[in-house]
Subunit: 194 residues, 2 copies
Amino acid sequence: MRKDVLLSHASRLVNHGPTVLVTTEHQGRRNIMAAAWSMPVEFTPPRIAVVVDKKTFTSELLQASGRFALCLPVPALADLTYRVGSESGRDIDDGRDKFQRHGIDAFTGPLLGLPLVEGCCAWLELRRIAEPHSEQAYDTVFGEVVSAQADDRVFANGRWSFRADNAEWHTLHHLGAGAFAVPSQVVQGALLRP
Amino acid sequence: MRKDVLLSHASRLVNHGPTVLVTTEHQGRRNIMAAAWSMPVEFTPPRIAVVVDKKTFTSELLQASGRFALCLPVPALADLTYRVGSESGRDIDDGRDKFQRHGIDAFTGPLLGLPLVEGCCAWLELRRIAEPHSEQAYDTVFGEVVSAQADDRVFANGRWSFRADNAEWHTLHHLGAGAFAVPSQVVQGALLRP
């Protein structure tokens, strides 16, 4: 079930390098793309960097609106994730955007009203931090998280819990060409004295 | 067995969000730390961003030398990865650096001569790209990969292959507090027409 996540825990949602769906909306136009390249840069305030090619429709909506969302897809969304990462939302098909074209159910983000993808395991809304040089030179967009939610079957009390009995809610990690690794095992490191 | 990786494939090594060991060396002083926060920003040329707190000894050596390496630890190195991410190389113990203190075997990087950690599954040497604003504001260091190697039991022909029979060479993905997810399963997305 979807639950709010403390903003002080929001960066933990992407700490382990999951592939994300980036969603955007501006004046009634919306889009969705996949991004394998993101990382937290700060826990407090929760800030995240994500690579969004400046030529994309997502970049156009992100720049115009100053906001974007990250949704973390699960194994059942592997086809969709690969698909929306392989086509442009500019290529409108019969007036249908990528949500309509692929039958993607979206709900409305609580703070910024962004379209968030049903069936994911976590959702974050971010305000763009204006860093035109990083955006231009490296397609790297910085954002500050203003709302965070996660499915409490897999993320609760500020921690991911990847277990055999909740495998359908694990994250995806893009290896290339549509193959996604799933973090289905966990090892615990110990702070042993040398 | 360790094999060279084409530079055009180097960014694929960190595409899926692994935790890395950052190693540095300057005028005979060397250090190692763990970093959960890194991502590619470009395939060609291969460029990677990594978050290195500017107060760390690693940052001092990186800034002074203009170079750093990323080594990808495997499950057997989970304790070590957690440990070197939890203490500073500035706290020299009886004149021993963190490599000596923890008995870490290192070999010499082929292009920049950096200390690379034996027993990892991939190794990259990078030259720092000077971006003082990103470093100052977000602890985000950009680098260009100049050498890349991987263990061909798990990465070959430009692709990761995570299988049950090579589980000891899988990557680690930090969840927090020393718990690491291991990408031990793979799902293949299809480019289905909607």
